[in-house]
């Protein structure tokens, strides 16, 4: 039964993505003045920067005002598990600005989130625990952290075959740049739901929380024009983790 409910949820999720992807609701339309919503499957503008990549890494750098803000609708994953508490959509969209500089793709994301779910978690010490008097302490067992990610196909799509939005497919993997408000940046790979694997690689990322919104910049390996990408946002206070999140459909770089 659980498998069936999962399949149903996955189908609903895919349908929802097709129907709602990239299209903001009526209520959201009122907020959309400065930025135009990106219809599903359409292109995101990306412009070359005159600034250095390092200067654009600061999410609130004045240089970012030179790039158009593109508002992308976020969809809420439907209930995936029998045990999952219902969770209303709270984050309707993410504002994205994209720049190319020094062979890098800089992704600037801003989204409204009244609850800042972040922490500085002690790093696991390299020294073995044996004989070490001080041990790092778990400070909480029931908190989840705000996070965001950008997902690309791991390989240039052939014959228009983009990987599944749900973390790719077997044989058609995705590359995920994941940022967490507690654990920083990590690159992951996946070939389908539940297969996410940490590569051990990190990448430059900076984040600022100001006026009830997250502003982050991720510095990623550049990809060619027409390349697909998708965004995701997790809200810690809604116990988001795993597929319990906000997501966009596949978009593509102009």
């Amino acid at each position: 039964m659980r498998t069936i409910s999962k399949i149903v949820a996955v189908l609903c999720c895919s349908l929802l993505a097709l129907v709602c992807g990239g299209i903001t609701s009526e209520a959201q339309q009122k907020d959309v003045k400065a930025a135009a919503a990106i219809p599903a499957g359409l292109a995101l503008k990306v412009a070359p920067a005159s600034s250095r990549a390092a200067a654009l890494l600061e999410p609130l750098a004045a240089d970012w005002t030179n790039f158009p803000t593109q508002r992308v609708a976020l969809n809420r994953t439907p209930r995936l598990y029998d045990t999952e508490a219902p969770s209303d959509p709270e984050i309707p969209f993410v504002d994205v600005r994209l720049a190319r500089a020094e062979g890098k793709l800089l992704v600037n994301m801003t989204w409204h989130d009244p609850t800042r779910d972040a922490a500085e978690i002690a790093k696991l010490p390299a020294a073995p625990t044996e004989g070490r008097a001080h041990k790092e302490l778990t400070e909480a067992t029931d908190r989840f952290f705000d996070s965001a990610a950008v997902m690309f196909p791991a390989h240039p799509p052939e014959n228009g075959q983009w990987p599944s939005l749900q973390m790719g497919d077997p044989g058609n993997p995705v590359s995920i740049y994941f940022w967490s408000a507690a654990r920083g940046a990590a690159r992951m790979e996946a070939e389908g739901r539940g297969t996410t694997r940490r590569t051990g690689e990190t990448f430059p990322a900076q984040a600022v929380y100001r006026e009830q919104a997250w502003h982050i910049t991720l510095e990623l390996q550049d990809v060619p024009a027409g390349f697909p990408l998708a965004f995701a946002v997790w809200n810690g206070s809604q116990q988001d983790r795993d597929g319990r999140k906000y997501f966009t459909t596949w978009l593509k770089l102009e």
Partner: protein, 336 residues
Amino acid sequence: MSLHQYAMVMDLNKCLGCQTCTIACKKLWTDRDGTQHMYWNNVETRPGMGYPRQWDQIGGGWKDGHLQPSRQPALDDYGAPWEFDYEQRLFEGKGKPVMASPDPVSGPNWDEDVGALNGDDNFYFYLPRICNHCTNPACLAACPRQAIYKRNEDGIVVLDQERCEGYRYCIAACPYKKIYFNEITGKSEKCIFCYPRLEKGEVNACAAQCPGRLRFVGLLDDPGSAVHKLVHVYKVALPLFPEKGTGPNVFYVPPFNPPKRTNYGKSILEDPRLPLDYLIYLFGAEVKDIIVRLEAELTRAQNGGSSELLQLLIGRDAETRYQIKPQLVQIQARIG
């Protein structure tokens, strides 16, 4: 179903509440970064809050084939750790008694020996708990990453630290709350039934260190094992909260001794020291039959007769209590 199933039986009539098992486990497995609140083995006073607090009342497990909702216990439910200010008091001339800091507000077995009243009489007993290494583990089913698996060779449920992403669905799903979150590693952890010891022919650390000799360990499917005899032959051991549907492989001989001090000449069920309702709450209705059976064995022995069951429960030596079969498990795993 696994090829074999290691199981443990704990005779609650013999538990001293000394926590030696807890410390044996803690020193061996959870004296690491991020594990301060974890007691893979804990001993709690019953009736009581339990560890983590109210674990028996916050859901999880199975009902009609569906996982049941629950919640993540908070750190205070496990008990936040504290330190003692020896430096200030002993070496800095403060001249006050050594104090705990921060002020302790909760902890494992926080309500030690409080128990409850049965009429005018106080009663309590100790309940040692480890992961139940269930036949139908809710934690395993709840993990979307297949990070939890049940070893085919011996039925031990383990959590792959490489696959775990710390989602904690397993913690909510486990009706016994025997999976713990390590925030430093960002992963969940659990009792591993000391499988590295079993593979060397050594019994679990909690059992090996138990001064009360209350633990029995072996393969449930080994007719020569004490656990098989206690569970399937003598039928005097029951799992905790069987209605949770996970099929625990840790079993308990229910507490029925000593008798109430006023009940001379009466049967235990006529004038029980422990209210039967509470034992039924923990172990199900079958507990009543077991108490009757155990009392009959006790009466026979007290009248000069012999009782193989009581001799087994006394468990004088390790050979009686433990039947660890690493060769059998490993060979059958290879050919299985």
